[in-house]
Amino acid sequence: MSRLERRGDVVWELPAATREDMRVPARVFGDEDIVAEIERGQSLEQLANVATLPGIVDAAIAMPDMHQGYGFPVGAVAAFDPGAGGVVSPGGVGYDINCGVRLLALDAALPPERVEPFVHELSRSVPVGTGRGSGLALTGATLDRVLAEGCPYVVSELGAGVPDDLAVIESGGRLPGADPAKVSTRARERGRDQLGSLGSGNHFLEVQRIDTVEDEPAASVYGLRRGETVVLVHSGSRGVGHQICTDYVRLMDRHLVEWGLRLPDRQLSCAPLDTPQAGDYLAAMAAAANFAWSNRQVMTHTIRTVARRLGAGDLRVVYDVAHNIVKWEEYGGRSLAVHRKGATRAFGPASADIPDRYRRVGQPVFVPGSMGTSSWVLAGNDASAERSFGSTCHGAGRALSRGEAKRRVQGAELRRELEARGITVRCPSNAGLAEEAPIAYKDADRVVRAVEDAGIARRVARLVPLGVLKG
């Protein structure tokens, strides 16, 4: 299937007429090289599949970091209108509900000789997720409150963090409508002792240096100065979210005939937004989102404790963004269910939904690069509201499968290479390290230039790694 027609410097579309079942075009942001790579893979067909879903508005949208996923591609945004038969799709959020990124700033430069001890102590203190009992063990009642109330509860009742943290977390760290009663016993079992743990796969914690500042006014508003040290945390809702997605994909798959839905891919399993099943999923998904924000909040508490113990100073939360989520947002006078699957909200200064302290410049967005390469801080633009449902990219985007990465890279060699470059590495598995090798990913610098050229976010600061902790 091809192929994309150019609509602007970095805007491309697969017209709705490409396939009989597409209701809207599939739109891709990217430069020519990025688009050529996308066209060689499976992700464009997956994006076209999303464009067939009932009630989809405007276009199925892909960010330049799009890559092959299941059902929805990773790096996709789609909005659905409940008044036009719109649906919610658990697979359009993914198994790691509210997988996201949080940036902490030290507001000082950690001396080079203190980086390795800091990363080492973090590796001893932040559970990475292998084995049971790796996080806080919660009673049923406490877990219910985490699911229902998210970060405000974790801060006020569990003492993890300070109230000011809540002002700089997307949605205040609590998504409305969460209902623990819609979360299965199995999901609770999987998450019961995982709060405050990193998890495996592509989840990581990096100690970084602010290498360059591209937008001084925005960096100043975010409190980021060249040479200072920050910590980037990438994790999600752990087993809670995985099981909720499993439960609701299965449930909706069994109702598709009843709802008259024919799908090009069974993993697009979905429910009309006006059905009880859709409401139940949204309530459970919100609970998982709250667990994920709480998870990053508890890890923040642990990281702060380590930093204080080592005399490194205090860490300030810069912001926390979700990149696997459905949210109700207003566009063109309509309330739409905006699915972001591997995409980040990127609201501009005009939005009332961003912290007051950032209203002059727009919402911070964090784009992790691959391990050992640069990551980016971006700022949201108002233009994103009309171009991408207020969204931008979420990472560099995978270019190689995990198997191919392991064939090309020896984990032990990569570890030595990173350490030779002065990057401290703590990862229990060489195979896991190889799977996340830099060559397995697209060039993050290129991805962020594309979203800047598209006007949906702008570059603020570039971060380079000093130390990596991987699950």
């Binding site: 893979g41 499976q42 992700s43 890559h67 092959q68 996923g69 299941y70 059902g71 990773v74 697979g91 993914g94 198994y95 790691d96 997720g129 292998t130 084995g131 049971r132 199995r186 079992e189 999987r190 998890g199 495996s200 796969g201 087993g239 995985h242 099981q243 997605c245 499993t246 994909v249 299965r250 798959d253 069994r254 891919d265 069974r266 993993q267 399993s269 995978r398 270019a399 190689l400 499968s401 995990r402 198997g403 191919e404 598995s429 195979a431 896991g432 699950g471």
Partner: protein
């Protein structure tokens, strides 16, 4: 014989065998190997666990089967490489799986319905399942 095939973002299990039941046992073995990459040799078997599942078709049943094993792996911190299939129809399975103690990394989040296929081709049974890692 089972093998994993390339998927850019995730992992695809490609299963082959001389019966539908063989696909389910191979799926269990492959999942255990993915979850315990340091190996299972010498790991002592523990008390078997009974599994009883129902689904609308064989493909969905294979997905449910893997998800059941993912759930067991995560909540017991054991790998489940051995499965004895007691009965299998197009929509039901009864099986006995044997846990072994191992260092489990909980890499697999779930099995998906994306492109899932189970069927006979050229006298062999073939199954394909993408798992989220």
């Amino acid at each position: 014989v089972a093998a994993d095939r390339e998927h850019v973002g995730e992992l695809e299990f490609v299963l082959t065998g001389d019966s539908a039941a063989a696909l389910f046992t191979e799926a269990a073995r492959l999942l255990a190997e993915e979850e315990a990459p340091d190996g299972l040799a010498g790991a002592p078997p523990e008390e078997p666990v009974e599994i009883d599942l129902a689904a609308p078709d064989l493909a969905a049943l294979l997905v449910d089967w893997i998800n059941e094993l993912v759930y067991l792996t995560e909540t017991t911190d054991r790998a489940y490489p051995q499965a004895e299939i007691l009965s299998l129809t197009d929509g039901t399975i009864q099986a006995r799986v044997t846990p072994v103690r191992a260092t489990v990394r909980h890499a697999v989040k779930a099995a998906t319905l994306h492109g899932v296929r189970v069927g006979e081709e050229g006298g062999r049974w073939i199954g394909r399942v993408v798992v989220d890692v």
